[in-house]
Amino acid sequence: MKAWEYFWTGWVVVTISVSWVAAVICIFGGAIDLHHLIKDLKAMPQESEAEDAMPGEGGQGQ
């Protein structure tokens, strides 16, 4: 019983600490990625201008 209690205590401390660090990295990294996404999508043509090609049709890998 005691061993399990120590194990869960350590597990909670480690996971919560690691997740807070990972969250900070994701908040900053995600902001940069979002900026790139909007830039990429703005550069793509309108549906009416583009050919009506579907992803996956006629080949592999987008």
Partner: protein, 513 residues
Amino acid sequence: MRITLIDWIIPVVFLTAIAVGGMLCERLVKGNIDHFLVAGRKIRKFLLAAAGSAAEVGLIAVMFIAEEAYTRGLSALMLPILALYGQVIVGFTGFCVERYRATGAVTMGHFAEMRYGRAFRVFSGAFQFTAILLTIAMFPIAGGTFLTYLLNLPSNFQVWGWAVPTVPVVTAALVAPVIGYTVAGGTISVAFTDYAQFAIAWVSMAVVTVIVLLNCSWGTIVHSVHQTFGALGVNPFLQEGIKGYGIFWIGWMLCQYVWGNLVWPPINLRIASSKEPKAARQMFMITAGLMPGRQGMIILWGLAALVMVPTAVLSVEYLPAGWERLVRMPYYLGTIMPPVVVGLFLAGMIAAEMSNVSAYFMASSAIATQDIIFPWLRGRELSSKSQVRINRLVLLSLAVFAYVFGLVYGLNQTLFTYLMMSAAVYTPGAGAFLTFGLYSKRANVVGAFAGMVAGGILPMLCIVLKFENPNTQFMLAFLSYIAAFVAMIVGTLVGERLGVKPLSLARSSGGNL
């Protein structure tokens, strides 16, 4: 709890900004179905991880994870271990995920058609749609119930002499704007709003975790679990009635957390949206650091609620059956949070709900249209704009269904078990056809049909027959994975005997999106 004006202003301003931002993403869709469903396949790893993580934890997850803590004690901390294991297996080895992304498939149905043909796409799509429909039906009611008890609102209020229950009203007010911006902007909206929601939800969860620990120490929690559950509360390998998990549950979850990560529609759509196969794998590596801690924090809240809130103080007369177990934690949090923190937490939790609901409804409408409706319309040329319009109509219909179903359906097991069992109608069979489809050239459509049926039948039995003993359900769910993979192999061998030729991904025409 004292709710001040600032506590209402914080979430209203934040959520309005998010909803408007999400709707503005409509301009980026440009009438293109590829933009609507997979954001033009331009999403990079950190945004994928942030959005994916936000999408997987909504108010429903907050409630069912906390319920596991009330019913299993510290053993509930097995959930973060399994979450870590699932992310590591997929993220560090690239198991299935890189090969799947490299196929260019947009949905699992798309992959099913490329590898096993159109008939199997529709067949597996029906299983997938059933599984996710049963799941999302609980989302709106969970959000409405959480907020009602967090804010300690009265269980009903009077309108022209009629007693109107509060939960359905709060539920409708919460879900309507989410459906609005998801209908407008599709996956681009979802990625944008999920990111913003991820940020606010994390900050608020961190603050609340500190407050919970100040209110109820870890030592008190451990002592209380010891008294309430005994060994069942700390050893997850033990099981007795609703307490503890047992070996079958652990075996089932070891499978569910790997293949569920790959084939479950909202996560699968995230893989398809990634810029490249490597980014899809990296998303899992990053979420390996995020998910266990997030679940750990919620379990901590649930354990503290177990210690601090006697069930007798809760008023539950207007809730569907089974939901009375779930309201303990939101009620507890409502009693300990100071002003301003309440506003921040409200914004964070509503944000979590919005990202979760939008991602799941988006994925559900994609399955219904791409895998079931459009394959039946073969021969009619549908423009990309028409496809977007049909997707939006389906999305609205699903929202109405989920709203009504959640308010009338009673739970006879923990919410987590119900949701996992619903998902298991699809995940074992899909795990089998995905794995063999990516790694074996011999896998054929006969095997895929056999795996799908064998994997789905046992979880469906559990849902329909509602077995009293949870361990029977856990055992059948675990066996469903073994059955699906064995049936896939046997079916493929039978198919070879019958002369069925497997479709090759390299030669496949790709099928329709």
